[in-house]
């Protein structure tokens, strides 16, 4: 069992779509929202994904195909 903490940023046209629900349906991962701010023009979320590594990888890849930006919770660490 692995865990991955991610910061998601939703594009404007994906705010109304249940993307996190879809991830839980398509992959064997537990989605645990820790903090979020969703508004008319944008939305972000601190999310923990738990499950087998391959399932987490699949979930992250799926989020990207849905145009959700997936960063580590630290955001950009390269300086």
């Amino acid at each position: 069992m692995s865990k991955l903490r991610v910061h998601l940023t939703f594009p404007e046209d994906k705010i109304l779509e249940p993307v996190v629900y879809e991830v839980g349906q398509k992959y064997k991962v537990v989605t645990n929202i820790r903090r979020a701010d969703v508004r008319e023009k944008t939305g972000w979320m601190e999310l923990e994904l738990s499950g087998e590594s391959s399932e987490i990888e699949g979930a992250v890849a799926y989020l990207k195909t849905r145009q959700v930006k997936v960063d580590p919770v630290e955001k950009n660490v390269i300086e």
Binding site: L4, R5, H7, T9, R34, R35, D37, R39, K41, T42, W44, E46, E48, K69, V70, D71, P72, V73, E74, K75, N76, V77, I78, E79
Partner: protein, 419 residues
């Protein structure tokens, strides 16, 4: 004990002062909390003045438990009264904090790394690491070499040869990761979870970032224990600006200055301006973007402390502005030609924004303005190469030289041509 522990900037949950950077509860960033009453009782201007000519003269306000052990010569860089540049911009009291000559590696990152590695050693680490494209990697590699710590530097695989060399010379293990910047970010985050290493800008970040406060302390001390009316600060992760603000406030809490009302102005390049964009659009959130600018050391599209920098700028009454790559180069040349300081592209961004704000009338002629020049131009020579021209080439004869001199004098009354 001066360090009380760590605290989440969002939910305020507290933790012991260990190698931890994210709140386990809400995933917010952690920050060091101090016992200011204890520090105030034990710190005075006199004690500071008797301290070493380095950032460690402010050791009492830095997050280490014992004596400093790494980066002993970092900090206490010159504060330059920029009279020539000031005349150009209509400012009588323009000052430049010149971190282009910081020790060991000519950028402000030497400050944060000195604190990070000293703390890392205290916490028992013997391996340090960072994810970087430039200045941070140089600073970590050099400081780790001097402290004889094992060092891993993670870089994107397509980084310029010169920048890679600047790390390799210190003999760290340099790991070039095949993938884009997002891939490098994510892998480094995972590696920091997996290996018991001090990743300076990940699990040691709460301590590392505190090193930037020393720029504020030095500013106040070098200005004769005065706080400037305005500061212009380059924004990458946003941490530098927030820590300069914190440093000013801490010196007020220590009783060294009063009435701190400095306006904080943030400087970004237009090709990567997530904070300046949010400021202009009056947004309360940072929209991540893909950087495209020559100011690589500021090219952070989703900055960790961007939102905190935005809040600090707004609450101070300051501005966030951005300049084009052309203005960055102009800023570098202006700074070099007026003050003899060759800054890297981030310095060009700072000077470009300083000039822009001055033109907008944001500063009074008699107000004290400090601009932070954070890295040396020798590291980003390629940015100005096309703009600086070439030397005059002459035959080895006096008449040849005299002919050339006439041409030089003719040109001095007209704009310089490119040769």
């Amino acid at each position: 004990m001066k360090i009380k522990g760590l605290q989440c900037k969002e939910c305020h949950k507290t933790y012991e002062a260990v190698a931890l950077h994210v709140c386990e509860f809400c995933f917010g960033p952690l920050e060091v909390v101090y016992d200011y009453a204890f520090i105030r009782a034990n710190l005075s201007k006199e004690k500071i003045l008797q301290g070493p000519k380095s950032l460690w003269r402010y050791e009492a306000l830095l997050p280490i438990a014992g004596p400093p052990t790494v980066g002993l010569d970092a900090g206490f860089t010159p504060m330059v009264h920029a009279k020539n540049l000031g005349t150009e911009l209509g400012l009588d009291y323009l000052y430049l904090k010149n971190d282009t000559v910081n020790c060991l590696t000519l950028s402000f990152k030497d400050r944060v790394v000195a604190v990070a590695l000293t703390r890392a050693k205290e916490l028992g680490f013997n391996t340090v690491a960072c994810a970087s494209t430039g200045n941070l990697a140089n600073a970590v590699s050099a400081a780790a070499a001097s402290a004889q710590l094992r060092c891993f530097v993670f870089i994107p695989h397509d980084l310029e040869v010169a920048k890679v060399l600047g790390n390799l010379v210190y003999r760290p293990t340099v790991v070039a990761i095949e993938g884009n910047y997002d891939d490098v970010n994510r892998l480094c985050s995972e590696i920091s979870e997996e290996f018991p290493w001090a990743f300076v800008n990940i699990n040691i970040r709460p301590y590392y970032s505190e090193g930037s406060k020393t720029l504020a302390y030095e500013t106040i001390e070098q200005m004769g224990w005065q706080v400037p009316d305005h500061v212009v600060v380059p924004i990458a992760s946003g941490s530098l600006l927030t820590k300069i603000a914190k440093g000013f406030k801490e010196f007020e809490w220590m009783g060294f200055v009063s009435g701190v009302a400095t306006q904080l102005h943030g400087a970004q390049a237009q090709g990567c301006a997530p904070v300046a964009d949010a400021f202009k659009e009056q947004r309360e959130f940072i929209r991540p973007l893909k950087p495209k600018t020559i100011a690589k050391s500021l090219a952070i599209g989703n900055p960790a402390d961007g939102i905190y920098a935005l809040q600090a700028i707004r609450s101070s009454g300051g501005m966030a502005e951005a300049v084009s790559d052309e203005e960055v180069v102009e800023g570098m040349l202006l700074l070099a030609s007026k003050e003899g300081i060759f800054a890297e592209t981030a310095g060009g961004v700072t000077i470009g924004v300083l000039k822009k704000l001055a033109k907008q009338g944001r500063f009074g002629r008699n107000e004290v303005v400090v601009a932070y020049i954070t890295g040396n131009g020798l590291k980003t020579q390629e940015a100005v190469t096309p703009a600086v021209g070439a030397p005059w080439t002459i035959k080895p004869s006096l008449s040849g030289f005299q002919k050339m001199l006439k041409e030089v004098e003719t040109q001095m009354s007209s704009p310089p041509r490119r040769r």
